[in-house]
C-alpha cells in the first residue's frame, strides 16, 4: 500500500511515494540514493544506519518511512556546514566530528563510520544538554571522559574494533566544537 510523504533530508525537501513497509533506511538508500546510512544488521543492533531525525539520533532501520512525513532528517552527508547532500564532494568541508575521526584514524574499513559520526554528533548534543548516562555518578551534570564516551556510543558496533581511536576522536571533537554548551566541560583525552 502506497503513501505520499515529504521528508527533508540534509536540508532538501524530498517528496516520495513509498510502500507502507519501507523503512527510512531503505527510502534513503534505495529511493533517494543517499547511501551514507549503512545497512549493517537491519534489526537495530549495530547502529550503522544512525541518522538524526528532529535533531536526535535514531535508527533508520527501525523507523517506518511513513512516520517521517514532514520530518527533518540529517545523514552523515549533511552534517558539515554547507554540505550539499547526496553525492557531493565535501572538499575540506567537514564537521568537527568528521575531522576528528580523520585526524585520530578512528576507522579501518569505514563501513560503520557514517553511523558512528552521526551518533557521536547526537551524543555530544545530549551531553551538552546535561543528559546523564548509565556511568554518570550522582545527580549533577556529567563530565566527559573515556568511560562516558564508550557508554554513550555503545549502540554503534565496529567489527574492525577501532573503538580505542573512536573514543579518542569523540573526545577530540568535544574540545574542538565551536564555543557552546559543550565548551568548558572536563575532558580526559
Amino acid at each position: 500500500m502506497q503513501r505520499e510523504i515529504t521528508v527533508r533530508v540534509d536540508g532538501t525537501a524530498r517528496p516520495l511515494t513509498v510502500d507502507t513497509r519501507t523503512t527510512l533506511l531503505d527510502a534513503l538508500r534505495e529511493r533517494l540514493g543517499i547511501t551514507s546510512p549503512k545497512k549493517g544488521c537491519d534489526h537495530g543492533q549495530c547502529g550503522a544506519c544512525t541518522v538524526l531525525s528532529g535533531g536526535r539520533r535514531v535508527l533508520s532501520c527501525l523507523t517506518l518511512a511513513v512516520t517521517q512525513d514532514g520530518a527533518e532528517v540529517v545523514t552523515a552527508e549533511g552534517l558539515a556546514p554547507g554540505a550539499a547532500g547526496a553525492g557531493q564532494q565535501l572538499e575540506g568541508g567537514l564537521h568537527p566530528v568528521q575531522r576528528a575521526f580523520v585526524d585520530c584514524d578512528a576507522l579501518q574499513c569505514g563501513y560503520c563510520t557514517p553511523g558512528q559520526v552521526v551518533s557521536a554528533v547526537g551524543a555530544l548534543d545530549e551531553f551538552a544538554a546535561g543528559w546523564p548516562s548509565a556511568v554518570t555518578e550522582g545527580p549533577g551534570a556529567p563530565g566527559l571522559d573515556r568511560a562516558e564516551v564508550a557508554e554513550r556510543m555503545s549502540g554503534n558496533l565496529c567489527r574492525c574494533a577501532a573503538y580505542v581511536n573512536i573514543v579518542t576522536a569523540v573526545l577530540r571533537a568535544a574540545t574542538s566544537l565551536p564555543a557552546g554548551p559543550t565548551a568548558g566541560k572536563e575532558v580526559d583525552g
Binding site: 507502507t20 537495530g44 544512525t50 539520533r57 564508550a150 555503545s154
Partner: protein
C-alpha cells in the same frame, strides 16, 4: 513482510477506535520492537496505527506530589528529567541501563512496558512457541535457557520480560492510565503484566485497542535512596541476566522499609514483597539482605537446558540484591 495499511489518526480517541474495531490492527509507538517484528514475521498486522504526536509528551506534577509521565515521553527525556533523577534515581538508572542512545530516543514510556520478550525462539518463526503460536509448544524448555525465567514460569512458557524501566516502575508502585474502547481506567503497574500460565500469548492485562496514555509515579520519600543494578553479558547495550530495583529506608542501623523488584527472571517485572517483608525491622547487614533474597527465592525453579541451564541466576540474584542493598544502606540519603 506482509502488506499492511497505515493510519495516522487525528487524536488518541480515533487511534483507540481504529484498533479496537479491527482485530488485525496494532498501535505503533517508537517502533523499536514492532518494526523488527514486522521484518521477522513475528507480527503480521493488517493495519498499523501510528501514535506519533498523539500522546502527552510532558511530565506533569500533580497536586499530591505525584509525577504524571505522558505515554509519549521518550525514554531519554524521562531518564534526564531532573525531578526523576532526584526523587526516583532507580528509574533514571533503569532507563539508562537499557538499550542504546539511539533506541532510548525512539522508545516511549507507553511502548516500553509493552515490548515483547527477546526469547530467541519467540523471535524465530521457524521454531514452536506457545507465545507466538498458542499450542505449538515451548522450544526454550530444554533448549537455550541462559536468558530465561527462574520465577513464575509455567510448563507452557519460560520467557522473561525484557524491560528495565518496568522493573523500576514495579518497585515504585506506579499506576498505568489507559484509554480503551470502554473509556479510561487506571491499574497498578504490578498488575499490568501477566505470568504465562496456560495463556503465554497474553503479555498484559490490557484489552485489544486499550492504549496507555500516562504512568503516574506517587510521591514517596523512600525512593530518593534507590538504585538499579543490572548484570549482563557485556558492559552496555545488552539485556539483563538479572537486575534489581531497590529503595530502602534505614534508621539507626535498622531497615524501616524497602521496595524491591527483580528483572530478567520472570515473565513480568517481579515485585519482591517477601523480601521487603523480611527486611522490615531487620538490621542493615549482609545477613539480612541474603535472608531477604532467600525468602523471595524459595519458589525459584531454574530451567534445565542445552547450555547447562540457568541455575546460576539464583545465586547471582542473591548476590546482586545483597550488593545493591549494602550500597544503598551505606549511602547518605539525598
Amino acid at each position: 513482510m506482509k502488506p499492511f495499511d497505515y493510519l495516522a489518526p487525528a487524536d488518541a480517541a480515533e487511534a483507540v477506535r481504529s484498533v479496537a474495531a479491527n482485530p488485525d490492527a496494532v498501535f505503533l509507538g517508537g517502533g523499536t520492537n514492532l518494526v523488527d517484528h514486522l521484518k521477522l514475521g513475528v507480527a503480521e498486522p493488517g493495519l498499523v496505527v501510528g501514535l506519533a504526536g498523539l500522546l502527552p509528551s510532558g511530565i506533569e506534577e500533580l497536586d499530591d506530589g505525584a509525577l504524571r509521565i505522558g505515554a509519549g515521553v521518550s525514554n531519554s527525556d524521562l531518564a534526564a528529567d531532573p525531578r526523576v533523577r532526584e526523587r526516583f534515581p532507580v528509574l533514571s538508572q533503569a532507563l539508562l541501563s537499557g538499550a542504546s542512545g539511539q533506541l532510548r530516543n525512539m522508545a516511549t514510556v507507553g511502548g516500553n512496558p509493552l515490548q515483547r520478550t527477546r526469547c530467541v525462539y519467540f523471535q524465530d518463526v521457524t521454531t514452536p512457541c506457545n507465545k507466538r503460536e498458542p499450542g505449538s509448544g515451548c522450544s526454550a524448555i530444554g533448549g537455550w535457557t541462559r536468558h530465561h525465567a527462574v520465577l513464575g514460569a509455567s510448563e507452557h512458557c519460560i520467557a522473561v520480560h525484557p524491560s528495565d524501566m518496568a522493573v523500576a516502575m514495579a518497585a515504585l508502585d506506579a499506576r498505568v492510565r489507559t484509554l480503551g474502547p470502554a473509556g479510561e481506567r487506571a491499574i497498578p503497574f504490578v498488575e499490568l503484566h501477566r505470568l504465562p500460565g496456560d495463556a503465554p500469548e497474553r503479555d498484559t492485562a490490557l484489552e485489544h485497542g486499550e492504549l496507555i496514555t500516562a504512568i503516574d509515579l506517587p510521591a514517596q520519600p523512600i525512593a530518593r535512596r534507590s538504585a538499579y543494578h543490572k548484570v549482563r553479558d557485556r558492559a552496555s547495550y545488552a539485556f539483563a541476566l538479572v537486575s534489581v530495583a531497590a529503595a530502602i529506608e534505614v534508621e539507626g542501623g535498622v531497615i524501616r522499609d524497602a521496595r524491591i523488584a527483580f528483572g530478567g527472571v520472570a515473565h513480568a517485572p517481579w515485585r519482591a514483597r517477601r523480601a521487603e517483608e523480611a527486611l522490615r525491622g531487620a538490621p542493615a547487614s549482609d545477613g539480612s539482605y541474603r535472608a531477604a533474597a532467600d525468602a523471595e527465592l524459595t519458589d525459584a525453579r531454574p530451567a534445565e537446558g542445552l547450555d547447562g541451564g540457568n541455575a546460576f541466576k539464583i545465586p547471582l540474584l542473591r548476590r546482586t540484591l545483597t550488593a545493591t542493598l549494602r550500597d544503598l544502606a551505606g549511602e547518605d540519603p539525598r
